[in-house]
């Protein structure tokens, strides 16, 4: 009996150090929106006006994710991911703010790259709901 209690206590302690973030509907929704926006943007890379609108949306969503995860307990990992996404969107935004004409291929590859990161994140957040 003593052994069982000891094992239970050890498990509890180790469990505390491995506390994963809890599934959060809002978080999942924001990340899904980032994926949807980057997909739509990918299809309209030739239209600068639309691209700029999508970039504004991406900025809002990625910044929202960053602020949202920052204040949630056990969401440090997801906050780190949000920082990468914010950085990505900032790079994209900078390209279109310098009055240059970024290439069509750059736009397509950059949005693909964002989508890859976001989809991997969606899978993980989704798994937390199991």
């Amino acid at each position: 009996m003593r052994l069982i209690i000891t094992l239970a206590l050890i498990s509890l302690l180790s469990g505390c150090s491995l506390t994963p973030p809890k599934f959060d509907n809002n978080e999942y929704y924001i990340v899904a929106r980032i994926d949807a926006i980057s997909k739509l943007m990918h299809d309209e890379c030739g239209n600068r006006q639309r691209v700029e609108q999508y970039i504004e949306q991406l900025k809002l969503e990625s910044q929202t994710l960053s602020t949202y995860t920052f204040y949630l307990p056990h969401h440090t990992d997801l906050f780190e991911i949000s920082k990468i996404l914010v950085e990505d969107v900032d790079e994209l935004s900078a390209k279109y703010q310098q009055n240059k004409e970024p290439s069509l291929e750059y736009c397509k590859l950059k949005t693909q790259s964002i989508s890859l990161k976001v989809r991997r994140t969606l899978q993980t957040i989704g798994n937390l709901g199991e």
């Binding site: 069982i4 509890l12 180790s14 973030p21 990992d77 290439s103 991997r120 899978q123 989704g126």
Partner: protein
């Protein structure tokens, strides 16, 4: 990859690696054909590193989640034994 059988999750590291490699390959091709600038290519190449970083972070979350589930199951078993 090799952990795929251990984790009951719906993610495929091999697919992500393949897709990331494809983006890098396409970026290389675009740069070689002059479709993107050197600066754009470097940014896209750096994105590959960032994608790998995200993969590591998400793997860590997956493992924590899995370990937490195992611990929870174990605690339930112990509680059942103690309740008898």
């Amino acid at each position: 990859m090799s952990d795929q059988s251990f984790l009951p999750y719906t993610h495929d590291d091999d697919a992500l690696i393949a897709q990331t490699a494809r983006v890098l390959h396409d970026a290389e091709q675009a740069y070689n054909y002059g479709q993107i600038t050197k600066e754009e290519f470097e940014e896209l190449a750096n994105d590959v590193i960032q994608t790998n970083l995200i993969d590591k972070i998400t793997d860590s979350i997956d493992y924590k989640h899995r370990a937490h589930q195992v611990v929870q199951a174990f605690i339930q078993i112990v509680q059942l034994i103690l309740a008898r």
